[in-house]
Structure formats: structure tokens, C-alpha cells
């Protein structure tokens, strides 16, 4: 405080401004652009580090940037109010904006209309604009297969679901899983609980502990960052071979080595890859892109496959996998239509087959 009273006020101003600057979204440098394509991902509030939805999308975009010589950037959204400014910043600096998540729907609708020359890929939701590619997944199909595997594996006849927020993609996971369990093990009970947050792993852990303590032996967190708590819970209880966790979107085995029974795979990474690829090749497919089960597993080689059931560590018994394969064939042949929302689930459970979607 050499300058006495003059510097005092300036100092207060500067020292208060500094943290505000620190919270400004910062873009992570990607791979150098060769042909000028800049793709920017805007996260939902769970942000990077969720080991899940946002991280997977980011990984897919990086692979694509590497392969196609584009530049991949990320803007993290600190809260819901940041969606519109972040999407605007992303649209101003490039050709493609990848918006990860249902929660960004309204923001994409308004920003997408303002930038008709910029391509937008919106994951997990639908916006009807000529420059917006809405990628929806048939999570319920993969979740059904995961439910079949879990229903045949459970020893306690009790399973748990921990949802983040009850939004359509999570609902598809939930009802698909419950329908799958019911198909092979009608006596099994599925505990369904919602944390109401995708960013609170500590509370997620409490939910998982409550379910395991109540007798559930397989828990399926569908909750982004919150789901990390489920992995911590199963690792802490430490009953290998007796209590399991199921991975959603991508494998998170490293969070609780030895406890991940299987993965309900969702190709958010391959859909980001797919969007960059399409922009580079000039084949951007706007409109609704519904990605479901395919003959091949989810992967960059076949980015049109949206979801799949995976057993990366060979923990699912062979006879169980045979049943899963059987159901997969039925779903592929449309002889079995998996419910995707509450109404369809109820009519499915009442014995009325869900009609196949038109087209």
C-alpha cells in the first residue's frame, strides 16, 4: 500500500476482478487446424471430468480433429446462464458447434437461429432448424440388454438405478433397463432413485450406499459426475464378485477396478467424431439423427451405431451373454420394441407390445 489511499480502491477492484476472470470459460487448445475447420464443444454444467458424457464427447472430438486435421476446442459452462454466451462464442469462432446435452436445447434453439451458416450438433435432444443436427440415441435398447444381463446375474433379486435428473435420455435408460430386467427375471425388484443433480458425487455415493445396504447387488448410475459416487461406494464396500456397478455411456472401470460388471455403451464420442467428419467431408446431416443398436459395436469405424451392450472385462457369464445376444437379435429384427418412455413402459408391462416407430 505504498500509494496510500489512491491505490486502496484500485486494489480492491483489481483483487475482486481477478477471481471473476478466473471463472471465465477457457478454451482448451486442440489440434492445429490445417483446412480451417474449427469445431467447438460446449459442455453442460457437469462439465469436463465427469468421466462420462462430456469427457466422452471431448475424446471423440479430439480423435476426429487428429484424423481430419480440424481444430477442436472446448468451452465449459459454469452454470445454465452460460449456455447462450458460450454457444455464441463457439459459433463466432468456427464452423461446427457441438452442444452436449438435453439441458442445452433451448439455448441451441436461440443461438442456432442466429447463426444459420454455422453447423450445430445437439446431442440428446431435438431442435428443428435447418443447420442443426439433433442426435438422439436409442439408449433404451442398450439399457434393455444391460437389464437382461443384470437380471440374470443378480443373486439378491434386487437392483438399483441412480438417475441424475429425470430428463428424456435418462428416462430411456431407466425404462429400458427395467423392461430388460422384467423380461428375464420378473421377481427381481428395481430400486429407482433420482439425485436431482449431475454434479454431486458425494450425494450420489449416499444413494448408492443406501441401495447396496438395502440389498441391491447391482447398481446402475445414470448420472454423469454424480455417478462417480456410485463407483466410490462399491469400492468402499469392497465385496468383489458380490456387489457390482454398471457403466453408463462409457466404461469407468478405473474408478473401481474389478467392480464394473458391464457397460451400457452410448456413442456420444462417436457422434462427436461423426459430426466433425461430416463437416470436413461436406456431408453434414441436419435434422433428426436417431442412432440405435447395430450389427457392429459402437466405435469410430461405424459411427452410425449409437448404442450397445459391452462386457469389456469378460465378467458376464457366457450363458447370460447368449440370452443377451438373443434379445439383441429380436430388437434388431423389430420383433421386440423396447419402451422408451413411461407410457410405453406401462403398456409394455401390461402386455401390450409397443408399436414400432414409423419409418
Amino acid at each position: 500500500m505504498v500509494n496510500g489511499r489512491v491505490s486502496r480502491r484500485t486494489f480492491v477492484g483489481a483483487s475482486i476482478a481477478a477471481p471473476a476472470l478466473a471463472t471465465m470459460p477457457f478454451a482448451m487448445g486442440g489440434v492445429a487446424a490445417q483446412d480451417g475447420i474449427v469445431a467447438t464443444m460446449v459442455t453442460d454444467t457437469a462439465g469436463l471430468g465427469d468421466q462420462n458424457f462430456n469427457d466422452a464427447t471431448n475424446a471423440g472430438g479430439q480423435v476426429a480433429a487428429e484424423e481430419f486435421g480440424a481444430e477442436w476446442k472446448v468451452i465449459e459452462s459454469i452454470d445454465a446462464a452460460a449456455y447462450v454466451p458460450n454457444l455464441t462464442a463457439a459459433a463466432e469462432q468456427g464452423q461446427l458447434v457441438v452442444a452436449t446435452g438435453f439441458l442445452l436445447t433451448a439455448a441451441v434453439e436461440s443461438v442456432g437461429a442466429q447463426f444459420p451458416d454455422v453447423y450445430f450438433t445437439l446431442i440428446d435432444s431435438f431442435v428443428d432448424l435447418p443447420n442443426v443436427q439433433s442426435v438422439l440415441f436409442n439408449e433404451h435398447q442398450a439399457a434393455f440388454l444391460t437389464g437382461v444381463a443384470a437380471g440374470l446375474t443378480t443373486a439378491t433379486n434386487k437392483l438399483g438405478i441412480i438417475g441424475g435428473e429425470r430428463i428424456p435420455p435418462v428416462i430411456r435408460y431407466e425404462v429400458g433397463f427395467r423392461a430388460g430386467v422384467a423380461a428375464v427375471n420378473p421377481d427381481a425388484e428395481v430400486l429407482v432413485a433420482y439425485v436431482d443433480s449431475f454434479g454431486d458425487p458425494e450425494t450420489g455415493k449416499e444413494f448408492a450406499l443406501a441401495q447396496y445396504n438395502d440389498g441391491a447387488d447391482i447398481v446402475f448410475p445414470i448420472a454423469g459426475l454424480t455417478g462417480i459416487g456410485g463407483y466410490q461406494a462399491v469400492a468402499e464396500l469392497n465385496n468383489p464378485g458380490e456387489q457390482w456397478i454398471l457403466g453408463a455411456d462409457i466404461s469407468q472401470e478405473h474408478l473401481a477396478p474389478g467392480f464394473e460388471l458391464a457397460v451400457c455403451r452410448k456413442g456420444v464420442d462417436t457422434s462427436a467424431y461423426r459430426a466433425v467428419k461430416q463437416v470436413v467431408e461436406g456431408s453434414f446431416g441436419a435434422g433428426l439423427n436417431q442412432l440405435g443398436l447395430g450389427d457392429a459395436p459402437v466405435g469410430f469405424d461405424n459411427p452410425d451405431v449409437g448404442v450397445g451392450f459391452e462386457d469389456p472385462n469378460g465378467r458376464v457369464a457366457d450363458d447370460v451373454k447368449a440370452v443377451v445376444a438373443d434379445y439383441q437379435a429380436q430388437i434388431a429384427a423389430s420383433t421386440l420394441v423396447v419402451p422408451a418412455n413411461d407410457e410405453e413402459f406401462e403398456s409394455h408391462m401390461a402386455g401390450t407390445p409397443v408399436p414400432a416407430p414409423a419409418g
Binding site: 471430468g49 462430456n54 459454469i78 430400486l191 432413485a193 433420482y194 449416499e206 466410490q232
Partner: protein, 296 residues
């Protein structure tokens, strides 16, 4: 009857203790700061910086106890910024508290990137030991802090002086108490306590840090201080009420007692509103809260 016994089991009790732990730590810190006359809405950010420092300390020193020590020091020093702004420079205490919260949210995310070259989440580190199944050693320590804070404020000379600073800073100054020094000390202690709350979340429970993982617990702790009428045991009761509502909500969803999940999720917040509207009518903040010992 069986159903009720089944519902209120030992696991639920443990869950309440676990969920109350970070609230109790942070609320005791907030209580000390506010009792000395400095408003502290920075608890959330102090907690977050402590949670992060605990992981960094454990990561580099390979021992969670050292990690805890690092957290407490970092928490105290972060609170020193708040103290300097609000006592030394007499800035608006709400504004500076908000600045601390933003500072912590931003720097932790930034430092994860710098230290581990990954985003939003640190690697898993060793945790502090458990004293019983799913009860970390920090849980009993948190509850032990309550009588300590109580006797400090009620029976120690220093504690009584702290309360004098909070009630009437001008009078305290006139009898020779160094109001600023005591307030600096108490604000730093609030950082130490809040850091312990944060450390519980990381090295006491999850074993890793994720961005914004405190998820509003600092603000709930602050509500507990107000609801507890700035009294240590009242604040403890409020923390247990909030944690209990949350644990009940989780247990109710798990056991499927047939109440809408949306209603159950709102339960802790509804309880807070009812409590503050109905019960705390006689609540009185320290009279000198936010005041300075000499005119500006």
C-alpha cells in the same frame, strides 16, 4: 411396525452422521466468523479450496493426514484474503465473500488442468481411515468440534472478547480489545473449519476432487448457523435436521415409500423454509455483524 424398523436402521443413522459432517464443520467456522462480526458467505468457496488442497497435499505428500494439514492451512490462508478485504479494506462483506466463492471455483478447475493435465476431476488419492464401517475418522471429529466451540465462546476469555466484537465493536475497541486482530483470527479459523468440511468430502469420503463438488453445502451450513440462532448446539441441531431430511429423502426413494420423488427431493429445502419462517422468529444476529469499530 417391521417396515418402520426396517426404514430407520443403523445405515440411515450413519448416513445422517456422514451428511451432517461437512455441514457441522463449515457451520462451526461460519459461527466463529459471524460471532466476531464478519459476515461469511465465503464458506462454500473456502470448503471447495480445502477439498482441493486436501487432494493436492495427499497426492504430493503420500499421506492423507498431511493432506488434511495442507487443507487446513490453505483454508486459513484463503480466508485471510476475505479477512483482508472485509476488515483491512472494509469492502462489502457480501461482495468479497462472493469473490472468494468465484475464486475457489475458478482456481480449482484451473489447477486441476495445470497439475494433472485433465479436466474437472483429480486422480484418486488415499483416504483417511474409517473408525467404523462407512464412518470416517473426520465424522466424530466434526461432532467433537461443537462442544469445543461452545466452551470457547462461553467460557474462555478470548471467546467472550470475540462475542464482544460481534455485539458492539465500538465498545470492545474502547476497552482496549484489538477488534481487527480478533476478527482476522476468527475469519481465518472459519477457513480452517470450512477446509476440514471440504477435506471430508475428498479424503474422508470420495477419495478424489471433482469440480464444484461442494454443491451448495457451504450455503446450507450458513443457513444452519442462522437457523441455529448463532449458537453452537442450535447450529448442530440445524445441521442434523438438514442432513436428516436429505438422508430421509434418499432412504425414502430407495425403499420406495410411494411418495413422489419430486416431493421428496424438495423436502430438505421445504424444511429449511418452514424452519426459518416459523421457528427462528426469535433469532437475533450478532448486533455488530458487518459493522466496523470506528466510523469509515
Amino acid at each position: 411396525m417391521d417396515g418402520i424398523i426396517d426404514f430407520f436402521d443403523l445405515n440411515l443413522f450413519k448416513a445422517v452422521l456422514r451428511m451432517a459432517t461437512p455441514l457441522v464443520f463449515a457451520a462451526m467456522g461460519g459461527l466463529l466468523s459471524e460471532r466476531s462480526g464478519i459476515m461469511n458467505i465465503a464458506l462454500e468457496g473456502l470448503m471447495l479450496s480445502g477439498a482441493f488442497a486436501a487432494v493436492v497435499g495427499t497426492y504430493y505428500l503420500h499421506n492423507p493426514w498431511w493432506g488434511l494439514l495442507v487443507a487446513l492451512i490453505v483454508g486459513g490462508l484463503t480466508a485471510l484474503i476475505h479477512a483482508f478485504w472485509s476488515i483491512g479494506l472494509r469492502s462489502d462483506q457480501i461482495v468479497t465473500g462472493t469473490a472468494i466463492n468465484l475464486l475457489a471455483a475458478g482456481t480449482t478447475v484451473f489447477l486441476i488442468q495445470r497439475i494433472w493435465a485433465q479436466s474437472g476431476r483429480t486422480p484418486t488419492v488415499q483416504k483417511l481411515p474409517d473408525v467404523a464401517a462407512q464412518v470416517n475418522v473426520l465424522v466424530p471429529i466434526a461432532f467433537l468440534c461443537v462442544p469445543i466451540v461452545y466452551f470457547f465462546l462461553k467460557s474462555s476469555k478470548l471467546g467472550l472478547r470475540v462475542m464482544a466484537c460481534g455485539e458492539h465493536p465500538q465498545a470492545a475497541e474502547s476497552v482496549g480489545i484489538n477488534v481487527s486482530l480478533l476478527r482476522y483470527g476468527m475469519v481465518m479459523m472459519s477457513g480452517v473449519f470450512a477446509a476440514a468440511a471440504g477435506a471430508f468430502l475428498t479424503i474422508g469420503s470420495l477419495g478424489l476432487f471433482t469440480r464444484d463438488m461442494t454443491a451448495g453445502r457451504g450455503f446450507i451450513a450458513l443457513a444452519a448457523v442462522i437457523f441455529g440462532n448463532w449458537m453452537p448446539f442450535g447450529t448442530l441441531a440445524a445441521c442434523i435436521l438438514f442432513a436428516g431430511a436429505q438422508a430421509f429423502q434418499i432412504q425414502a426413494q430407495t425403499k420406495g415409500i410411494g411418495i413422489s420423488a419430486d416431493l421428496l427431493l424438495a423436502l430438505p429445502y421445504v424444511l429449511t423454509i418452514i424452519a426459518i419462517a416459523g421457528v427462528v422468529r426469535g433469532s437475533r444476529a450478532p448486533a455488530g455483524l458487518g459493522q466496523h469499530p470506528t466510523p469509515n
